[in-house]
C-alpha cells in the first residue's frame, strides 16, 4: 500500500496569493494512498526540507510529491532531501503550481482547483514510480583517434598530455594530412611544414601515443567507456621494426613513373616509397598495384638491397583488436574532383590546376622547389587567374555550401605568386570575399592593396585555349555583368572541399550520424559541437564541415577536453531513465516479437537484438535489446512499439495513462 506525502509550498506569497495552499494540502490528504500532507511557507528552505525528511521517517512514506515551483528549478533539491532521509530519490516528484499555475492565473476558485488537479496527477505518477539506481559503467581510459592530420595529431597530443593512452590510426603511410602538403598558411604566411612536422615527431615519440599508420578501422561494437575496435593494419611489405628509413630502396626502385599522391600528380614517385621526405614514420611502403615484383614476380631489387632485410613481400594484412573508452573522428576532407566542370578544362589543359596543386608548386619542397612554373612547359606564368568557388555555392553543378577556406587560400595564393613572380599579375574571380576571422580581412585587403591582386566579382563561364594561352571568360557583375576575357598562362581552381572518401561507411560502422554531404553530424550545432549523437564518440576538424587550421585545432582541443573529462572517472554514472524491453516467464520470454521497428527509429543506435536460447542452446526467440549505456531516455521506441513491449523508466505507460485519468477526473 502506497504511503505518499504531499508537501504544498506557499513560496512566500508567490503561490499563496492566488492558490489556497492550505485547502490544496487538506484535499490532498484525503486522496487514496496519501498518508501525510502539509503546507509550508518555503518548502525549499532548511526547515521545509527538514519537514519532508521528518515526515518520511515518521510516516514511513513510500513516495513524495512536492507541490511548488517547476521541477526544472528545485527537483534536484527535493530529491536530494528525500535521498538523505533514506527514500529512493526517484520516488520524489514535483507538481508545478507556480510557473504553470499561480503565476499565470488570477486568484480564483479555478486556479486552486487546477493546483489540486496537478497535485493529484503527480500523486498518481509517484504511486507508479519505481525506485531506480544510477547506472554505472566502467571506463577504459584509452582513446582511439581516427585520422592523423593536424586535428587528429592535436587530439592525440592533448589527450596524451592528460596522461591517457592514445592510439592514432591513419589510413595513409604517414601522418600529417593535408596540412603537410601546404606551402604557407594564412593569415601569417608561415611555413606549414615548419609548424606541423615538429608536432608530427612529437606525436610519434610521445610515450602515451601509439601510431598505427597505413591502417583502417574495420569494425566497432560496444558503447561509451567500453568500445571494442578492430583495426586493419594494411600490409606495408616493410618490417617497421627492422627498417631504419635509410631510403636506399626508394632510390634504387626501377619503377619511377608513378604519379605521386602527395605531389598531387605534379611529380613521380617509385613503387616503394615514403610519401614525402618528412614522413612520420619515415618508413616506406610498397604500392603493390604498381610494384613489378607483385605484378610479375620478377625484380625484387629492394629486397636484395635492403641492408637490414626489412622488405617482406609475404606480409599480410593484420587485424588488431583494441579496447577503448572514447573515439575521436578526425578524418578530414577532400578536394572535390573537378570533372564535374568540363567547361573549366581541368584534365584537358595541363595548366589548369587545383588549389592543392598550386600549394605543391609554391612549396619549397615541392616538384619545382617552390618556383611557380607551368606544369605543361615549365615557363614562369605572367598572368595567373584564380577561380574562387569552383564548385562551392553552386547547387546546380557543385555543392550548395560554402567551402569556407577558399577565399582565404586564394588570397594567399595570389600573394605567394606575386611574392615569387614580381612582374606577374594575379587575377581573382570571386562571388563574395568571406574573410571572417582574426586578421583575415586584413589579409585579403593586403592581397588586393599591397600585392596588386586584381579581384573581379563574377563567375567564370568557360576556359579555352588560344595561341598557347588560356582564355578565361567571365562576367564582372560590379560593371553590370560586363563580359571579361583574360588571357592567362595558368588557371588555379579553388575546388570545393568535400567529405572524405569512405566517410559514409565509417559513420555506419561507428553508428555516427552524418549530413546530406556525408560530413559527420555533431550532437548539437551550437552547444555540443564536438560531440556526436553516439556517447563517447567525438569529432575534430574538417570531417564535420569545411574548417581551416585554427578551427580544426580548436575543435581538436575541445574534443580532447571532452575525452579527458570522460577519463577523469573510473566509472560512468548515468541517469537510469532508460527504456527497457519487458521479460516474462517461459515460454513467452517477452511480449517483444522482434519486429525491429525500434531499432530503426532509435536516434542513438542503442537497440539491437538478443537471442533467447533454451537449455540445449537452440534459439527460441529473437527480441530487441536496449543498451542502457547508450540509451538517452527519449522514449521514442516506447511510443513506436506495436506490442507495448518497451517501457521507459520514470515515464512508463502505466504512469502516463494514470496521469491522464487523474488529471481529468476531478470529482
Amino acid at each position: 500500500m502506497a504511503r505518499i506525502g504531499v508537501f504544498v509550498c506557499h513560496c512566500g506569497e508567490n503561490i499563496s496569493s492566488t492558490v489556497d495552499c492550505e485547502r490544496v494540502a487538506q484535499q490532498a490528504g484525503r486522496l487514496p494512498g496519501v498518508a501525510f500532507s502539509a503546507d509550508y511557507k518555503y518548502m525549499c528552505s532548511d526547515p521545509g526540507q527538514s519537514m519532508i525528511k521528518e515526515a518520511i521517517a515518521e510516516h514511513r512514506l513510500t513516495g513524495v510529491v512536492v507541490s511548488a515551483c517547476s521541477p526544472r528549478m528545485h527537483e534536484p533539491t527535493f530529491r536530494k532531501a528525500c535521498a538523505e532521509a533514506g527514500l529512493n530519490h526517484y520516488l520524489c516528484e514535483m507538481a508545478n503550481i507556480r510557473e504553470q499555475c499561480s503565476w499565470v492565473h488570477p486568484k480564483d476558485e479555478a486556479t486552486t482547483q487546477k493546483a489540486f488537479d496537478l497535485v493529484r496527477t503527480q500523486v498518481e505518477k509517484v504511486r507508479n514510480d519505481n525506485p531506480l539506481e544510477p547506472i554505472r559503467v566502467p571506463v577504459n581510459k584509452t582513446a582511439v583517434v581516427v585520422g592523423g592530420g593536424v586535428a587528429g595529431i592535436q587530439v592525440a597530443l592533448d589527450v596524451a598530455a592528460g596522461g591517457h593512452k592514445v592510439i592514432l590510426v591513419e589510413r595513409d603511410p604517414s601522418i600529417g594530412g593535408h596540412m603537410s602538403q601546404l606551402s604557407e598558411t594564412f593569415p601569417t604566411l608561415d611555413c606549414s611544414q615548419c609548424i606541423l612536422t615538429p608536432r608530427m615527431v612529437e606525436a610519434a615519440q610521445h610515450p602515451n601515443i601509439t601510431l598505427m599508420t597505413y591502417s583502417e578501422l574495420e569494425s566497432m561494437d560496444g558503447f561509451i567507456g567500453n568500445f571494442n575496435l578492430r583495426i586493419r593494419r594494411k600490409a606495408r611489405s616493410v618490417d617497421e621494426k627492422l627498417c631504419t628509413g635509410c631510403g636506399l630502396c626508394t632510390t634504387k626502385c626501377p619503377n619511377k613513373k608513378i604519379p605521386s599522391e602527395f605531389e598531387q600528380g605534379l611529380a613521380f614517385r617509385t613503387a616503394i616509397y615514403t610519401p614525402f621526405p618528412q614522413a612520420v614514420p619515415n618508413k616506406p611502403v610498397i604500392d603493390r598495384d604498381n610494384c613489378t615484383w607483385f605484378k610479375t614476380g620478377k625484380c625484387g631489387v629492394c629486397g636484395k638491397l635492403c641492408p637490414t632485410g626489412a622488405i617482406n613481400y609475404q606480409q599480410q594484412d593484420e587485424i588488431v583488436e583494441v579496447k577503448a573508452g572514447a573515439i575521436v573522428l578526425a578524418t578530414g576532407f577532400e578536394v572535390k574532383k573537378t570533372d564535374f566542370f568540363p567547361e573549366y578544362g581541368y584534365g584537358r589543359y595541363r595548366d589548369v590546376i587545383t588549389g592543392l596543386q598550386f600549394e605543391r608548386l609554391a612549396s619549397a619542397s615541392g616538384p619545382t622547389r617552390g618556383e611557380i612554373r607551368r606544369p605543361s612547359d615549365g615557363r614562369v606564368p605572367e598572368k595567373v587567374v584564380f577561380v574562387a568557388c569552383a564548385g562551392s555555392r553552386d547547387p546546380a553543378k557543385g555543392i550548395p555550401y560554402c567551402s569556407k577556406i577558399c577565399c582565404m587560400y586564394t588570397a594567399k595564393h595570389a600573394m605567394l605568386y606575386k611574392h615569387k613572380v614580381h612582374e606577374g599579375t594575379p587575377y581573382v574571380f570571386y562571388m563574395d570575399i568571406r574573410a571572417a576571422g582574426k586578421n583575415y580581412d586584413e589579409f585579403t585587403r593586403r592581397a588586393i592593396e599591397e600585392d596588386g591582386a586584381k579581384y573581379i566579382r563574377g563567375r567564370v563561364s568557360n576556359i579555352y585555349e588560344k595561341n598557347g594561352k588560356l582564355v578565361v571568360r567571365g562576367a564582372d557583375t560590379l560593371l553590370g555583368g560586363k563580359p571579361v576575357e583574360i588571357e592567362a598562362d595558368m588557371v588555379v581552381l579553388a575546388t570545393a572541399a568535400v567529405s572524405c572518401d569512405g566517410s559514409e561507411e565509417l559513420a555506419q560502422k561507428l553508428h555516427v550520424s552524418y549530413d546530406s554531404y556525408k560530413f559527420f553530424a555533431e550532437a548539437h550545432p551550437k552547444l555540443k559541437p564536438v560531440e556526436t549523437n553516439t556517447a563517447g564518440i567525438y569529432l575534430a576538424g574538417a570531417c564535420q564541415a569545411p574548417k581551416d587550421i585554427p578551427e580544426s585545432v580548436a575543435a581538436a582541443s575541445g574534443a580532447a577536453a571532452k575525452v579527458i573529462g570522460l577519463f577523469a572517472n573510473d566509472t560512468l554514472t548515468r541517469e537510469p531513465v532508460v527504456a527497457r524491453v519487458n521479460r516474462t516467464a517461459p515460454p513467452i520470454f517477452s511480449t517483444c516479437m522482434g519486429c525491429g521497428l525500434c531499432i530503426s527509429i532509435c536516434p542513438y543506435q542503442a537497440i539491437d537484438t538478443e537471442e533467447i536460447t533454451d537449455r540445449s542452446g537452440k534459439v527460441v526467440k529473437t527480441i530487441a535489446r536496449i543498451n542502457p549505456g547508450l540509451c538517452q531516455g527519449c522514449g521514442t521506441c516506447v511510443s513506436f512499439c506495436r506490442s507495448k513491449s518497451i517501457d521507459l523508466e520514470g515515464y512508463s505507460n502505466k504512469q502516463v495513462y494514470q496521469e491522464v485519468v487523474a488529471m481529468l477526473n476531478s470529482d
Binding site: 517547476s70 521541477p71 526544472r72 528549478m73 508545478n96 507556480r98 510557473e99 504553470q100 499555475c101 503565476w103 499565470v104 492565473h105 488570477p106 480564483d108 479555478a110 486556479t111 487546477k114 488537479d117 496537478l118 496527477t121 550520424s513 550532437a523 549523437n533 531513465v577 527509429i601 536516434p603 542513438y604 538517452q632 531516455g633 527519449c634 522514449g635 521514442t636 516506447v638 511510443s639 513506436f640 521507459l648 515515464y651 505507460n653 502516463v656 495513462y657 496521469e659 491522464v660 485519468v661 488529471m663 481529468l664 477526473n665
Partner: protein, 140 residues
C-alpha cells in the same frame, strides 16, 4: 453554466515545458483550463493517450515540443510529427474534429507563444462545444 473546456497538454521537457515555465516567470496570463503532462520528448507521446484523454472527458488537447531540428534527442519531434499526420486521419475517420487538437512547436524562449497557443486552443474548443462522442468510451 458556461461551458469551460478541459484541455490536456502533452509537452516535451526540453522546449515546451521550459517555454511554459518562462510564461510563468514572465507573468503572462492564460486560461486555467489547460493542464500539462511532461514527457522527455514528443517522440515518447503515444497518441492512444489522446484517445484515453477524450474518453476521460477532455474536450481538447495540445501536443507541443521542440521546433524541427531543435529536438534534444535529434529526431523525436520528427517522429511525433509523422505519427501525428497518420493519427489525424484516424481521428477524422472516427468523427473527432481534429481542430480540437493543436499540434505545435514552442521553444524554451517562446513564453508568450505558449500563452497564445493555450488561449487560442481554449477559444477554439469552447466554440466547438464539449466533446461528447468518446466520453466514457471503453477501449479495453
Amino acid at each position: 453554466m458556461d461551458f469551460e473546456p478541459k484541455i490536456v497538454a502533452f509537452v516535451c521537457n526540453w522546449c515546451t515545458y521550459a517555454g511554459a515555465d518562462l510564461t510563468g516567470t514572465s507573468r503572462i496570463k492564460y486560461a486555467p483550463n489547460v493542464k500539462m503532462i511532461r514527457f522527455p520528448c514528443t517522440g515518447r507521446i503515444d497518441f492512444m493517450l489522446l484517445m484515453k484523454a477524450f474518453a476521460n472527458g477532455a474536450d481538447g488537447m495540445i501536443v507541443s515540443g521542440c521546433h524541427p531540428n531543435d529536438c534534444h534527442y535529434t529526431s523525436g519531434n520528427f517522429h511525433a510529427r509523422r505519427r501525428w499526420t497518420v493519427f489525424r486521419s484516424l481521428l477524422e475517420f472516427m468523427g473527432v474534429d481534429t481542430e480540437r487538437i493543436a499540434f505545435t512547436w514552442v521553444s524554451a524562449a517562446e513564453g508568450a507563444k505558449w500563452a497564445d497557443v493555450v488561449n487560442s486552443t481554449v477559444e477554439k474548443v469552447r466554440a466547438l462545444g464539449p466533446c461528447e462522442a468518446y466520453k466514457n468510451a471503453d477501449y479495453e
